[in-house]
């Protein structure tokens, strides 16, 4: 499979903090690749290096065959980049912003309209409105249109869904899957673990290091423990109680249940019977499959 991005041993050090600590990974052409991790994991630093906006302290990276340091000019012409902060001109209209970005890249809206049509036509009725007066969802669509208008081969989206509600997030991911069908390579970062499942492959990132790189299915399959889902009306006190039990490896609240991993050789039946007698007679449990968040937390434990 041909590679769109090759990252080798990349490091970036800021005073007092290693933002990226020897990262290596590759992204295949035409895939949606997710860098999943909390704030401070190094996602933005990595994206700024890959788009040639920042020079790494160690290591190398190529995007679509170009070195991110030496070939910065051609990289800038072929990548699309949507930074985490809304970075369009608030006092230009929707259409003026798009024209501006097309102009910078020496193209026209007409020439590449087909690339953005699906997204842009949703905000086209408001094309004379100032970008600063758009709703959050519309700003996002405009930013995406501006990042696509010069027909990039690789699209970088830095936390496009942070602070966005569940419905708009869903719609945004539907747009990304439509874009993927055009052959575009899409590299996206997010702190939302559930979005990992929507990527072809992901890298889990924490404190500048990659914890794991694989498809979401492989990551979940690699969870090394038996995982129990536990339900009770009194979840919070139950979780506090489980934290104190020696047989417990980890116990976390997960919405309306607790996800529990036991120490090796511990028996779920014995533990549950014991807990039941402590005023938790409504306790129910079953073996469940982990999700990416379970895996991420397990990997955090190990580091």
């Amino acid at each position: 499979m041909s590679k769109s991005v090759i990252i080798q041993n990349l490091s970036k050090i800021y005073p007092g903090v290693k933002a990226l600590d020897g990262i290596s990974c590759t992204v295949n052409k035409g895939e949606i690749f997710g860098f999943i991790g909390p704030d401070g994991a190094g996602k933005t630093t990595l994206f700024r290096i890959l788009t040639s906006l920042l020079i790494p302290d160690e290591g190398t990276a190529t995007v679509d065959g170009d070195d991110v340091v030496k070939d910065y000019k051609s990289i800038r012409a072929k990548v699309g980049y949507m930074p985490g902060k809304f970075s369009l001109y608030q006092d230009l209209s929707v259409e003026e912003n798009l024209k501006f970005f097309a102009g910078v890249f020496k193209t026209t809206i007409a020439e590449n309209y087909h690339l953005i049509e699906g997204i842009y036509k949703q905000i086209e009725p408001f094309k004379h409105r100032l970008a600063g007066n758009l709703s959050g969802g519309m700003k996002q669509k405009l930013a995406l249109s501006c990042a696509l208008i010069h027909k990039p081969t690789v699209l970088f989206l830095d936390e496009p869904t942070t602070g966005v509600d569940a419905v708009s997030r869903k719609e945004f991911w539907e747009m990304l899957h439509q874009l993927k069908s055009t052959g575009l390579t899409i590299i996206v970062s997010t702190p939302y673990m559930d979005e990992a499942a929507l990527c072809d492959r992901v890298a889990l990132l924490q404190n500048g290091k990659i914890l794991s790189i694989a498809s979401p299915e492989e990551i979940v399959a690699g969870f090394p423990h038996k995982l129990y889902g536990i339900k009770s009306e009194k979840l919070y006190p139950l979780n506090e109680l489980l934290k104190l039990e020696k047989q417990v490896h980890s116990t976390y609240l997960f919405g309306d249940s607790i996800h529990l991993v036991l120490q090796q050789n511990a028996s779920i039946d014995i533990l549950m019977e014991k807990i039941k007698t402590k005023n938790f007679d409504d306790l129910e449990w079953e073996i469940i499959s982990p999700d990416i968040e379970d895996c991420f937390m397990e990997l955090m434990h190990k580091t």
Binding site: G40, S135, A166, L235, G255, M297
Partner: protein, 263 residues
């Protein structure tokens, strides 16, 4: 509003509903900006020690309501009290009797941990003794000794958020408003943060919280969901799931948010 207690199996174990103190009362709240109705006749109450989740899509009107409840904005009409104070006439009293924290603004980045605690303690009128006591309490419980001399700017996000929450409740307000407190935080810290929320609520503090993490909505005693400036659902997570015949709050949220007509 008493009927809202019917389904609160998870609320206040061993406590009778009639013992509940009302901390927020909202009757017929309307807020207009020109012709735009940001809050369209809201009615709800929030009770002492309750974790109240305030959900809604971006642009649904949540921030408008929170600003009014925090005494930062005046409603167009309606009867609203917070911690017993009127949002028209007693806004300064409200500000003294609530806590507030958001991801965007909470602590001063270029002050140290102790300077931040001292600053907020001073703002809220705590005595020097009380400030000292709170400082050593937080250093201890949040395990901040490694960062004693660091500026807040240099703290890991998780620690910053836990400290911000502690500072927001250091004057022991009746209610604390948390605006997306866990946005961008790693999954383990996110859960530790909710442990802090639960512990605070068990002490009797009311927690009014917004979040985009739908699993966090499940940790609330009750949640409201706003659509186009209205509250279209308000109940315990379990009741809402039953009512909408779905398995998760995320599905409830999506069903409701899809009915929005406002751009």
């Amino acid at each position: 509003m008493g009927n809202h207690f019917a389904g609160h199996r998870r609320l206040f174990y061993g406590t009778n509903a009639q013992d509940m103190k009302t901390v927020v009362t909202v009757k017929n709240l309307v807020k207009k900006f020109g012709n735009f109705v940001a809050n369209d006749n809201l009615n709800f109450e929030v009770y002492g020690g309750e974790i109240f989740g305030f959900l809604g899509a971006n642009g649904a009107g949540k921030t408008t309501t929170i600003k009014i409840l925090c005494g930062l904005s005046v409603p167009t009409s309606g009867e609203i009290t917070v911690a017993g104070f009127d949002v028209y006439k007693q806004r300064e009293e409200i500000k003294k009797n609530i806590g507030y924290m958001s991801q965007k603004f909470s602590l001063y980045d270029d002050l140290t941990i102790q300077e931040n605690i001292r600053f907020y303690g001073g703002i809220y009128g705590l005595s020097n003794e009380a400030i000292k006591a709170k400082t050593s309490q937080y250093m201890e419980t949040l395990d901040l000794y490694d960062y004693a001399k660091s500026r807040v700017l240099d703290l890991p996000l998780g620690i910053k958020q836990k400290l911000a929450f502690s500072v927001a409740v250091m004057h022991e307000p009746q209610i604390v408003f948390l605006d997306e407190p866990t946005s961008g935080v790693d999954p383990i810290t996110r859960r530790q943060f909710w442990d802090m929320i639960n512990a605070e609520a068990e002490k009797g503090t009311t927690v009014f919280v917004t979040t985009h993490y739908m699993d966090e909505a499940e940790y609330c005693h009750r949640i409201s969901i706003m659509v186009d400036g209205r509250i279209d659902a308000l109940d315990s997570p379990d009741e809402l799931k039953q009512q909408f015949e779905v398995d998760s709050i995320e599905e409830v949220f999506i069903q409701l948010a899809r009915t929005a007509t406002r751009a």
